[in-house]
Symmetry: D5
Subunit: 94 residues, 10 copies
């Protein structure tokens, strides 16, 4: 089941640089593990913003929330979730 | 080069039903040809709306505009284009 | 799996009164059948508006879109879908 | 009498962690007591956000304000209240 | 129980002038009866707009919806309802 | 001459608790004196928010600004002023 | 007593051209009379829009509403009223 | 003196096709003459929209309004004007 | 050449009171000098807000930016500039 | 390939003045080098705001993001990117 998720990140300027770096590293590892697992299907950077558009393929809304809530950068994020369905013109089955 | 494009469709209620059906059919054929050609990489229906989120892979902004301007349903659409870039966490190269 | 859905209805003033009445009747029957089936868990009128807030319990986003797209009043509606998850404070399991 | 209430929580990042934890615990207890009492009928987590949608069944607007104003997390919340009424299609009496 | 209600009226320019006049007359009579009955406590014109701010004192949200839904001009209105409670500084009991 | 005024209060979380309490007390006294004087005709709490809707009856816009600018909580407020006029349906003369 | 008023005009494209021209002429005469009378102190065109910003000097909000409601183009306008007061830096007394 | 101007065009679907084509042709000629004259410095299409961003170099705001008000497509446009000034980092003098 | 400028001021609550007072005094002197010089034609307080609407008469957009950028309170301001032109109904030449 | 980019800058008031000045100097040098290189084609100041509108001519969206992400003031910016295409009325080829 697919969801498009936009994440806008705003890390406070006065956050301890080490905490910042370490959190960003954990975020990357967390994301890459989910990408390898297949739930985090795609992630693209939005040009000019500390933001991304991602496509998730998950079994339930609870699972999606668990993933997003667990993001190391979650507390610095504004997250917008758009549920997706199969498009009648799509030549690929999702 | 990737772009996320959201298309919200609002076909006037008083459009001749045959024109409506014919235009929608042309839209589907137009989209599927571009999907097969690889420029229209993905298209998903937004749940509950006559809208889609699509990912395009095109060689220039002019080409993308040419494609969008040529959509049979274009005059009934509100189109929003978000330029994308490679995300540092992405495990796949775009 | 739960979704909150807000539906704002705007039926054109110049719609044929019989078509209007018949469509509204079909909408009611359509909704009540889904309520009896358990997928349409709750529907409340928003005070002062031709709108409702509903809670759906469906197996997938595709199914939810199928239900919403099939609403007799769909073409006169603005629909907004909010995916829900179990709340840690909820004493009832969804 | 029913109200839909959306609560968006934004706890300052620099709040003392113990105060944070203790306040969240009190919030959970406060909510669960009202749920057992029947005034707080439902509470769902909005996927991807530190937010919930709740349904309250209260005797008056003053009572609803008293409940919301008393939330331990109130000062960190943006609260939006939507009054609800019986929907003509609802098969259950509220 | 008090509610503040804002009503923005937009009557289609091409409405039959007689229907327009007759509907506005019914609206006035409908409002004045409710004012005399005490449920419609106050109604003020917003300067420069075909809009009003009103204060209603009703026994339930269902009753308020019944009143608003019954407004002769309802189909031409955008209605916004704000539930009110007793203010701790108010020297008059509502 | 009537004005509807909405006041949304946001007191910084790190304000000295004593200053906070003393300012709120002064705000209450300030408001009640103006209510007794008749210029501050009504004040209601907006359910779920640290906000109020008030009705003022003042002799000029300068006087209204003087009152609002003098509110002890003014620097923590977002204030919105809507000028009102006599409504043709009102059974009471303002 | 001063008010800033913004008027955005949107005359339906299908209005009878003669009615359009005659209404615009009446609007101009109506405005110029009020300008000569001193109530309509200033009127400027907003560059690129069928809109104006005006300054009114009137004795009451009721009078201002009477003027605006009487504008020949009123039904095609979106009007926004901002009450003004003497600014402490102004070297001219209003 | 420079202004950035965004023009969003929405030509009614039911406009006579000949009138539409003729107006668009006049718009093109009108624009190209001003471009050759140097007042209309640049015009770019916004990808995916019937819109443009243009840069004008004019001697006054009145002149800019005269140009925009004279656009053949003006009545079908939403126009937004942003006044520009020399940027301290610009290596070219405007 | 005329511009309407709205300035919304938000001075941080924790600014040193002396710096605050001294800056406000400089702002007043700066404004009054420009008013005497004729470039700052009018300044009015917006009722209920730490904001003003001003009318400027300047020779160029660069000059207007120079004036606004030089405001002692500029860094605490949100400034919105609307270019004005002569209105066809105005009885006074700007 | 052209993009219009709007940058709104908000440097925290409590940033060390030396860091502020040094960062602004690096921003200017960074921009001017890209202007000389031809990728940053134009930059204009928006009157009354710490903002600019710029036109970029870049080979890809990835390159544009690289440029914007590398701006010394990036963390204090809100950046909005609008992809541009050749306009059919433009007399110059982009």
């Amino acid at each position: 089941m697919l969801f498009a998720v936009r994440m806008d990140v705003a890390i406070p300027a006065d956050l301890d640089p080490e905490v910042r770096q370490e959190t960003i590293a954990r975020e990357k590892a967390y994301s890459q593990e989910l990408q390898r697992g297949g739930e985090w299907k795609s992630i693209w950077r939005i040009v000019g913003k500390y933001s991304n558009i991602s496509i998730f393929d998950v079994e339930s809304t609870d699972r999606l929330h668990e993933i997003l809530w667990g993001l190391p950068l979650f507390e610095y994020m504004d997250v917008d979730v758009t549920p997706l369905a199969q498009h009648p013109s799509a030549i690929q089955q999702d």
